[in-house]
């Protein structure tokens, strides 16, 4: 089934917007009481949003080229760099980051390794969030766990598309999963009441 390019662009723009929304929510809370964990959460959402914004530019370049070869290697590296930075910031917020770090996997090739790292980091965060959810057993912690899991599954979709060489390098369903994940994470940050 062919997917309209505008749908992918729209979904990527919406995901970037959700990330930015997360920054706004965290920043409004930080105005009440600054906190280095909230600062990291703001950076996580900001870098995530920037990563999807850069990806939007990349997708637009590909769509605009109408099948002609394009030079967007720099854009792709920037997008992966931003996303990995976002996930690393989130991992650092949780725990000393390099304990038990897995050895670098070279199975996936240079581009695949970046996506693999993104999936691994997001899955790690999802696992931590699910352990936390088992303890807390409330809706909020479930949303956070589901958010990280969907973000990881979305990127797992990109990795699978890369590995089995699907027609679309970034399939729409994977974009939708990533979008849903970021949406859940952003809505897990409470909205500051306007009266204060």
């Amino acid at each position: 089934m062919a997917v309209a390019p505008w749908a992918v662009l729209l979904l990527e723009a919406a995901t970037a917007g959700c990330g930015a929304w997360g920054v706004v929510r965290v920043e409004r809370l930080r105005a009440l009481a600054d906190d280095r964990r909230l600062t990291r959460l703001a950076w996580f959402f900001g870098l995530l949003s920037a990563s999807f914004l850069v990806q939007l530019v990349g997708t637009a370049l590909v769509v605009g080229a109408h099948g002609r070869p394009t030079r967007f290697g720099g854009v792709a590296v920037l997008q992966h760099g931003l996303l990995i930075a976002a996930l690393v910031v989130a991992v650092v917020a949780y725990t000393p980051p390099w304990k038990g770090a897995a050895p670098v996997v070279t199975l996936f090739g240079p581009a695949g390794v970046l996506v693999f790292a993104e999936v691994a980091l997001a899955l790690y965060l999802a696992a931590l969030a699910f352990v936390n959810q088992r303890r807390r057993r409330n809706l909020g912690s479930m949303k956070v766990a589901a958010g990280f899991l969907l973000l990881a599954l979305g990127h797992l979709g990109f990795l699978a598309a890369d590995l089995i060489q699907l027609r679309a390098a970034r399939p729409l369903w994977a974009e939708a999963l990533a979008f849903a994940g970021v949406l859940l994470l952003a809505t897990s940050v409470p909205r500051r009441r306007a009266a204060l």
Partner: protein, 93 residues
């Protein structure tokens, strides 16, 4: 053993919770115990919170005491929501 990190918002919440327990006013000894701070550090925080309009002085029998303002009540509630949300992320405020 190193003491666990206590964020600024956690500290503010601890102080505000202690103040909320006594709506008429909380004296400094009670606040020192609740906030686990030195006297000068506690006074520094109290001055800052007063300047923000979150707390106000309420003298009790000639002794200094503080209580939450209406804005402070709202801020304390917001910080508690933030605490729950951070815990949902698996993080401590």
């Amino acid at each position: 053993m190193t003491k666990p990190y206590r964020s600024r918002s956690r500290l503010v919440l601890d102080i505000m919770r202690a103040l909320r327990e006594s709506p008429g006013g909380t004296q400094v000894t009670r606040l020192l115990a609740a906030a686990n701070l030195t006297h000068p550090r506690l006074l520094e925080h109290l001055r800052e919170l007063t300047a923000k309009g979150w707390i106000e002085e309420a003298g009790q029998e000639g002794r200094r005491a503080w209580r939450l303002t209406a804005t402070g009540q709202g801020v304390a509630a917001e910080l508690e929501r933030m605490e729950v949300a951070m815990a949902d992320f698996g993080l401590r405020l």
